[in-house]
């Protein structure tokens, strides 16, 4: 997994609640058997005026110029500002893959759907939970100032504003550790192979039917 230590970038505001994963990456693009290449189809039904097809050259498609990601001022954005229940809906990891492929490295929202939140962490994306007036204020500042940038310092769990103001955020210790070091959590779990084996041995005694072969 890619490491996440610190990131500075242009912020793009998506001022909507309940942004679902169908919106982030529509289903037709889930037919790919790869992890990459989803960026051009991020928010496909919002970015383009036509219906997107798999494998199409998106540079020729008609753009919805009103959608934030198409506005020139947000062209180089890498931090997405959003509202509550971001990433609700399906478990598709294609959603964080598409965000990452597009160039988004950090999301700041008041809340997330849990599966999406986990999926971000497994891909080196940082989903920050940030609520209330301070979030509203961020939306206001981004709207007001073209090229508005934030710096995210994961080690110190801080969002640093252009003027130097520091805002704290929470993240659980384990996820933070994995992000900072870009750890592969399968290797971490395999360190407990003996514990898994002894669990299985005990469980097979208690509930042998769980270990019968499927035929």
């Amino acid at each position: 997994m890619q490491k996440f230590v610190q990131h500075s970038g242009v912020v793009v505001p998506l001022d909507r609640a309940n942004v679902d994963t169908d919106m982030i990456i529509p289903k037709q693009f889930l037919k790919s058997i790869k992890r990459s290449g989803f960026g051009p189809n991020l928010f496909d039904e919002y970015r383009y005026l036509d219906e997107g097809e798999v494998g199409q050259d998106c540079s020729m498609r008609p753009l919805n110029t009103e959608f934030v990601l198409n506005q020139p001022r947000y062209k180089s954005c890498s931090i997405l500002l959003a509202r509550e229940n971001f990433g609700c809906g399906s478990s598709r990891e294609h959603a964080p893959w598409a965000l990452d492929d597009f160039g988004i490295k950090v999301i700041i929202a008041s809340s997330y759907a849990e599966i999406f939140y986990n999926n971000c962490l497994k891909n080196g994306l940082l989903p920050i939970v940030f609520q209330g007036e301070q979030l509203d204020k961020l939306f206001e500042e981004v709207e007001k100032e073209e090229g508005y940038q934030l710096t995210i310092d994961l080690e110190n769990q801080q969002i640093i504003k252009p003027g130097g103001e520091q805002l704290d955020f929470e993240i659980d210790t384990f996820s933070k550790h994995c992000l900072l070091h870009g750890l592969d959590d399968i290797s971490l779990t395999l360190q407990y192979s003996e514990a898994i084996k002894s669990y299985e041995a005990r469980r097979e005694q208690e509930a042998p039917w769980l270990f019968e072969e499927k035929k």
Binding site: N18, S91, T189, R203, W209
Partner: protein, 482 residues
Amino acid sequence: MAGKTLYDKLWDTHLVHQQEAGSDLIYIDLHLLHEVTSPQAFEGLRMVGRTPWRLGGNLATPDHNVPTTPQERSKGVEGIADPVSRIQIETLDDNCSQYGIVEFKMNDIRQGIVHVVGPEQGATLPGMTVVCGDSHTSTHGAFGALAHGIGTSEVEHVLATQCLLTNKMKNMLVRVDGRLSPGVTAKDVVLAIIGEIGTAGGTGYAIEFGGEVIRNLSMEGRMTICNMAIEAGARAGMVAVDQTTIDYVEGRPFAPGKEHWQRAVESWKQFISDDDAVFDRLIVLDGSAVIPQVTWGTSPEMVLPVDGNVPDPAEETDATRRQSIEHALVYMGLSANQPLTDILLDRVFIGSCTNGRIEDLREAAALVKGRKVASTVKQALVVPGSGLVKAQAEREGLDMVFREAGFEWREPGCSMCLAMNADKLGQGEHCASTSNRNFEGRQGFRGRTHLVSPLMAAAAAIEGHFVDVRTLMSQLQPDLAI
């Protein structure tokens, strides 16, 4: 010390290792796989030379992409017209055969929507942990199991370790008291619950559904309820084990055989919440007050009783919510205060992991029998949830009832629930759908989804617009009464 909830017991039974920094390791009894969220996980295993930890803990079937027309289906995987879908299904077949994972392939009679197949085969059992790279895995919680969706990285993790790194959720009890009136189904109950707590109401919680209404539901009804726990924000929904659960499981192909049956039943009976268990949140709903539900907007929480009117954004005081309503009305092509029964339907879809089981088809068929789909409805589809559901329905003659009324009778798969195959809505079309999500574009580019029960979908097909199904049911012949 306070008693334990069902979820606490499931968690404790499966805890392998508790880490100081958070994220505990829990054991997974059943990992279900399908073609969309697994290819990258298998590729990940292959890249570092890992193999599945325990083959017997996995079961696979293609469902999201499979075509549902008999013509396309009859030619096998090679005959799938969309080459991208074909590759994805072939990839699942190849991965399962390479590693030796049991798979019900596309034209195996046991194939179907993974959440229909698991319970039907007795692969899903009480007291289990069940995961799958699909958010509707919550369905399996109906068996007194801890079941939830995971992402592809987690699919890879479960394949490699048979465990999941996760955090314990909080406990919520949704208690539905009373008795449902005729014509009101599990789907209406769960839509009413979502309407009550919202699509993020269950975030961070495992929801246990209880109360008289839930106890009186069949296993299929309970699956419908748990299936949509995720639409209320809760990854996992569950129902305590009782005799209904045990009776459903008995005799299924993967259920414990005679040798272990009694012991299994005894152990399953513990998977109920203790009387003195403490829940972090309690929601109580009067089941007898629930009437058939229809979603009008682009989120499952945008739902109302069928006798209601489309909401007026002007009456909403919260700015974000007002904006959501305005946006949804534009997308759905509806106006404020319009009666829901005025909404005209272009298509009707009966199927999905929410409502593609035999009882769903029986209910809809009983209403449809002797009637015709309205001439204004372009297409009415019935897509059974599995090959076995389809075969059972055909034995009962339900396929003929649907066909005679003007419905199309299809092969099993996810179909128009998410429109990854050729079954989809055209731009601006309204669909009465028994599926689980009414998100923008979910059933097709700019398509407009209204979530309803199978009975309500059948009634909408007959009338061409939404109607309170109870008014049609009073005209039913007694032997068809539901």
